[in-house]
């Protein structure tokens, strides 16, 4: 695990978010250090996805602070978060359906290039090798010319992760990266994620239901329940925590 030196990369204090009368987040405190792989687990309705959505800018918190490297980001929009190096994937895979696999990856490169408003087709052509290299890295180059609509769910999740990587983030927010995937695909994807995270020394926050995946990948685990942090610790500590076993692991 990464050393906890200096200040946290992302720091959350007293974060609350209500939908009407339902309190999805009721005062979340969270610190994630650079280079850490942090899993967020918890029963349905614990507020995991809401938390990820606030961290990614998809939702604005009601009260409380979200800080990235000490900078307050309350109310930032997703594209502003992306510009600050926060990349995310969604629970339901989110790609550009009427584009090919190649074009999807090209779009990510195009966005990262900061020349997205250019009218020069040469800029697009010039990205070809880098795009193909990134597709190679996520093992999708053989599907480059396939419309995304035609590829499998697992490949789409893989593509989405690859696109996020291409935008050169420092912090990755993955909301159930392996949801709906088969056992085999699931471990392949998580291996890919861990490999890339370590190679690029990224920080990763991910929500996951598959306990095997969580214990395999996470440096630290945060357990959420009823909109707040219920427990936090090393995987061994969490596995040994009787309260956690009761609410979540079912006496495992």
């Amino acid at each position: 695990m990464a050393e906890r030196t200096g200040e946290p990369l992302m720091s959350v204090r007293g974060l609350r978010k209500a939908f009407g009368r339902f309190l999805a987040l009721s005062g979340v405190d969270l610190d994630v250090w650079p280079g850490e792989v942090r899993a967020i687990i918890g029963p349905n309705g614990a507020g995991k996805t809401t938390l990820i959505n606030v961290l990614g800018g998809q939702l604005a918190g009601d009260t409380g602070d979200v800080k990235l490297r000490g900078r307050r980001l309350n109310g930032y929009y997703p594209h502003q978060m992306a510009a600050l190096g926060v990349g995310r994937t969604f629970q339901i895979s989110s790609t550009f359906r009427r584009m090919t696999v190649y074009e999807n990856m090209l779009t990510a490169h195009n966005s990262a290039s900061r020349h997205w408003f250019s009218l020069s087709a040469r800029r697009l052509r010039a990205m070809r090798d880098a795009v193909m290299a990134d597709l190679e890295r996520i093992e999708l180059s053989h599907l480059a010319d396939q419309p995304v609509e035609d590829i499998s769910h697992g490949d789409r999740k893989r593509l989405e992760f690859g696109m996020v990587l291409a935008t050169q983030p420092q912090l990755l927010l993955l909301d159930e990266p392996t949801a709906g995937m088969g056992l085999h695909e699931r471990h392949d994807l998580i291996d890919l994620v861990l490999r890339e995270v370590r190679q690029r020394s990224l920080t990763l926050i991910f929500v996951e239901h598959d306990i095997d995946v969580v214990f395999k990948a996470a440096d630290t685990i945060t357990v959420m329940a009823l909109g707040r942090v219920f427990a936090e610790g090393l995987p061994a500590e969490i596995a040994a925590n009787a309260d956690v076993q009761e609410i979540y692991l079912g006496g495992r």
Partner: protein
Amino acid sequence: MTERDATMAGAVASQATALRDPYRIHWRLTALVVAVTAVALLTLPPLVVFTLTEVMIFALFASGLNLLLSYSGIVSFGHALYFGIAAYGMAIAIARFGWPMWLGILLGPFTSALFALVFGFLCVQLTAIYAAMLTLACAEVVYAVVFQWFDFTGGDSGISGYVPSMLGLSPGVYGVVVLGVVTAGMLFLWRVVHSPLGLTIRAVGQNPARAAAIGHGRKRVQLIAFVLSGFVCGIAGTLFGVFQGNVFPDYVGVLITVDGLVMVLLGGLYSFAAGIYGALLYKVLDNLISHYFQYWQLVIGLILMAVILLSPSGISGMVQRLLSLGRGGRDG
């Protein structure tokens, strides 16, 4: 043909195009179409030439609208505004403010771009059907103003005589002028769609949440698309105003909006050439059938229903499939 077949054909076609550089301008095809059209314009009788000229003008208008419909994710129910207001900008500059004719003509498209900037800014604050309703409301407001501000816009009798119809040229020669401008406009649109900006616009149009998560703010990108679309539709409107030598409130009215929408749907949503195919079919049917049959719009309606039910990708989808069959599909 099923949707599955269409996707397969699309996949084969896209494989072929990826190898052949999808961003290049098809100069030889463009030159061929332009040459054939020019010869037709200069040799065929005036009635046909008028129809062809109208087809070209509306092809550009529909293609400008198509930039929004197929790529940016905005549905505009008021796009005649950006067509007609260009003609008004030109007519008012010349007739009311005494601008030289050429300057007035140049002003036309920029009038549309300015209106698109203002109304577009309002419309992109909303999404989906709410944005679409606002585009309609904006167009209705402008229509009402144009219709009622008699002293300035001429009210329902419009403005005429500000420029000689077709610049005083023969129908064929004016047709060639239109051909040149429309070709330039289409090449500009092609350049936009097949550029980093075009890719950004498509990304935002297809999946705003994903686009935002990789760094594209929706509003600014959609506003750029809106202004570009308005500008191109303004070029078409200016050509139309010069063609007719007058301008009426109908130019910004809902019928022209619907014409544009129908053309894009006929031509095929999500296809670059939708506006060309759609305008050609629609205007030719309009000019042919309306001579013999009072209820030609009934025919158009039936054709539109048939296209939507049988080939949701419109005429361009059919053409794509035919072309890929011709190349010997790889689906065995």
